[in-house]
Symmetry: C2
Subunit: 295 residues, 2 copies
């Protein structure tokens, strides 16, 4: 389908001029000078091979050719304008956020209601995915990911630090007469014992790491699931305290030590640099940053 269309800029100018029946007013609408309109109309007429306007004193009128063209061109542009306008609205109204399960369930989901109330026109769709998404291959607006925040091409805003400390159910703690010092932990099963976090924690507390070898409990690899197991009294697990404030407050979990390990990782909000000014993205960023600061 080779393209026999005249220059599109000229067509757009013609469309406006035909609606206004005036080059001057068309220029005003298009934000350019009358001379430019005159030029573009001439270009189009030469391409088409026929005059489109008759230049009468103090007015222009469409020729038969122009008269045939005008309604079609206007219709075409109305479709275009409508499509892009609607796209803007609907695109502005759907925000796809991709994050890991833990963050979504423990931090984001409980707060999303507030955002929805502040921005009723933006429909957030939460997508949960473990691997880091590639913005150029997946249809995603925003991700929340753990890491160091150095992703090229992405704006990364730190939300909360990745910290962890042992947690367990009060009943499990009571079963060994309470957890008073780090070494007490070794008396209990370690949930998700393959987790490198345990190595970090054990060495930070001068405890042997060989205990990890003797454990055979399944790795669930999601704080949510580990926490559920811990609350059921199946063992001790390392959790991010920010995520489990409620459970601790409720007494479903206890955090025996104030010490919290921080390896310098954090949870980051990230989105492509090129989209930093998209309204819905700005709105979500502004909101979540404030939430993170207040939490």
């Amino acid at each position: 389908m080779p393209d026999y269309l005249p220059p599109l800029a000229a067509i757009r100018v013609f469309e406006a001029a035909a609606r206004h029946l005036s080059f001057t007013r068309a220029a005003a609408e298009l934000g350019m000078t009358q001379a430019a309109v005159s030029y573009q109309i001439k270009v189009l007429e030469e391409r088409v091979g026929a005059p489109l306007f008759l230049r009468r004193p103090r007015e222009v009128v469409l020729t038969a050719a122009g008269l045939r063209l005008a309604p079609e061109v206007t219709r075409s542009f109305e479709i275009l304008r409508g499509a892009f306008e609607e796209l803007g609205e609907r695109e502005g109204g759907m925000l796809i956020v991709n994050t890991m399960h833990t963050f979504a369930s423990q931090w984001l989901a409980p707060r999303l209601g507030v955002f929805q109330m502040q921005h009723p026109d933006i429909a957030v769709r939460l997508e949960v995915m473990q691997r880091l998404v590639d913005f150029s291959r997946e249809e995603v607006d925003i991700v929340v990911r753990a890491g160091k925040g150095n992703w090229p091409g992405l704006v990364a805003i730190k939300l909360i630090d990745v910290r962890f400390t042992p947690m367990l159910s009060p009943e499990l703690a009571a079963s060994i007469g309470g957890v008073h010092e780090p070494a007490d932990i070794l008396k209990l099963p370690l949930l998700d014992s393959k987790d490198p976090w345990w190595i970090t924690w054990l060495t930070a507390n001068n405890l042997p790491t060989d205990v990890l070898e003797r454990q055979t409990l399944p790795s669930m690899n999601m704080q949510t699931l580990d926490a559920a197991a811990a609350m059921a009294g199946q063992g001790v697990t390392l959790l991010t305290p920010e995520y489990f404030r409620r459970e601790v407050a409720d007494g479903r979990l206890i955090q025996p030590f104030d010490q919290v390990i921080d390896e310098g990782n954090a949870y980051w909000l990230a989105y492509p640099e090129s989209r930093r000014n998209v309204p819905k993205i700005r709105a979500f960023r502004d909101w979540i940053v404030k939430e993170a600061a207040g939490a």
Copy 2:
């Protein structure tokens, strides 16, 4: 109606790319390079604020946004293409020729059938107007006019010289025993005696011009009408012999003298320089020039 449309060039590229689901093929269709397509898509995506394609290995696919946009944009462009295509056809098929009545009735009309047969796709519309039309104000493709052929901005092609010589009906000539020499004309009524041509003719033949003052016959100002009057035997008139070959051959008119006055004026075919390559205009010009040469 301010124009929120993204750059139209980018939209056109998007339209092709969306149809092909390939930047490379779109580039081929548009006659540009793949890099240019990639660039324009990126421009559009930044303007829209949302990705329109997902870049997958060895293919691109439309995002939800692109998917909503594509059919609308394609429809819009189909309308445009259709409008301009049809315009080309219909514009190519209607030729408006403006000329004086004499030329139309005596020369052009009798020959137009030949042109129609050679170009059945071109519908000629003859417009008769006495004054010289202004191409920028009237909707006309071609004019035929008498003059010197020096009209700025117009291509002027000489068709036939403006010549004239007395003509009258055989009966009228017989009524004075035949017309043998110029002075015989003075015995008869001169039709359209205000015509400056008579002055020219009379002085060219060393005859007094005061005869014109004594005449009171109406001036009809159209050779066709003068000729009709002459054929009815009402007087002598000056006619362009090329126009009245048939009448002379039939015996309805006689041309008593071979001498023909030529003041250097001519009938010209004229059209705007800028439209010299419009097919229908070229076709008509080529045909009429050949006709004029053969006549």
